[in-house]
């Protein structure tokens, strides 16, 4: 399995959060059943996963520096 560096993980998180924000913006502007489903099943999980990746990165970074 390909091992990602810290910066690559953060870049991955950026993409995920961006996907989430875009789907959310579309849903808020034009709420239809398809946009609702795309936001609920794609955008929302993407945003949550992106946040978690960032949080894990920060925690590991802090632990590495003995800040925790």
């Amino acid at each position: 399995m390909m091992k990602l560096t810290g910066v690559q993980w953060l870049r991955f998180a950026i993409v995920l959060v961006l996907i989430g924000l875009v789907t959310e913006a579309i849903t808020l502007i034009e709420l239809t059943p398809p946009t609702f489903v795309v936001f609920a099943f794609l955008g929302l999980p993407c945003m949550i996963v992106g946040m978690l990746i960032y949080a894990v990165y920060v925690l590991r970074h802090l632990r590495k520096k003995d800040a925790l």
Binding site: I14, L21, L31, P33, A40, L44, M51
Partner: protein, 313 residues
């Protein structure tokens, strides 16, 4: 938010993402950069998720949301049927249910997970819309029998409801309705629901909000009795004069025709059921009702004929 603003928002988000992507190694190294990352990747999503979820869940209860699929538009038109015996039309037109959320109010189970169940049904609708066979208008059915609880959420305990003769007859009692042993929409009771099959032949309250499907219009033409066409030739031969004085008004004396004597669409005055003041979500009892005493004996209530906002197969 208007479309240009949305475009600006998307552009800004894209530029910001590219900025973060390119400058990421430097951002990580600087304190201000780390704060920026914290805001962009954690704080902003944390704040925006509840906004998006809350607003979309709230707005998905609106009738406009349901009718954004063309299959549901005939049901919207059915709310305009100008006949107070039609339960949904009567509730909608007299604001016995909130007009903006009429579909949601009557088609969401009032249980802990009623909302979730409704959303899952909506997913099924969407699946059928894109990947399944959409039934013809008027052929759609409910996934499950219409539960009395959806009516009783408003009507339970109401004086008019409980004292009504047809709810206290031999075949039907209030207790049976409360126990869901007899469906409110059983044949002979409140069985005039959306009636999509005959929608094109119904008088409507105002102009139809959506054009009706050709199949319904064709069916209405087929079912319309030919005798209603004043210019149609009678079977026995000989042209019929559409202006012939067929039924002179009894009090007309000199043969003058009362223009209102044969008015076909005169409706009885509507009863005065009104929603409780200031509480649109808890309306009073509806005035759509069968004549008292015309309720048929109890029968299994498992197959109400209500059409559905959906595509059960």
């Amino acid at each position: 938010m208007s479309t240009p603003l949305f475009a600006i928002f998307l552009l800004a988000a894209a530029i910001f993402a590219v900025f973060l992507w390119v400058r990421l190694p430097k951002l990580i190294g600087a304190r201000s950069g780390r704060i920026l990352l914290l805001l962009a990747l954690f704080v902003a999503p944390l704040l925006l998720i509840p906004v998006g979820v809350g607003k979309s869940l709230h707005d998905s209860k609106r009738k406009d949301f349901c009718t954004s699929c063309h299959e549901m538009r005939v049901y919207d038109v059915s709310l305009q049927i100008d006949d107070s015996e039609y339960v949904p039309a009567n509730h909608y037109q007299n604001r016995l249910v909130p007009q903006e959320t009429a579909c949601y109010t009557c088609h969401t189970d009032y249980t802990l997970f009623g909302d979730v169940k409704a959303k899952m049904s909506g997913m099924k609708h969407l699946w059928v819309h894109y990947f399944g066979d959409v039934p013809e208008p008027g052929e759609t059915k409910l996934y499950s029998p219409y539960p009395n609880d959806n009516c009783l959420q408003c009507h339970r305990g109401g004086k008019r409801f409980e004292k009504k003769g047809s709810h206290n007859s031999d075949g039907v009692t209030v207790e049976m309705l409360y126990a869901n042993q007899k469906s409110c929409v059983s044949k002979g009771c409140h069985d005039k629901i959306h009636d999509i099959s005959h929608l094109a032949s119904q008088d409507l309250w105002g102009e139809p909000r959506w054009p009706l499907p050709e199949s319904l219009i064709k069916r209405a033409k087929e079912e319309a009795p030919a005798a209603e066409d004043p210019f149609a030739e009678p079977a026995g031969g000989g042209a019929k004069d559409p202006f012939a004085d067929e039924k002179p008004a009894p009090d007309a004396g000199g043969g003058a025709v009362d223009p209102f004597a044969n008015e076909p669409d005169v409706k009885p005055a509507e009863p005065d059921a009104k929603p409780a003041e200031g509480d649109a979500a808890k309306p009073a009892e509806p005035d759509a009702k069968p004549a008292e005493g015309d309720v048929k004996p109890a029968e299994p209530s498992t197959t109400p004929q209500a059409p559905k906002n959906g595509d059960a197969k």
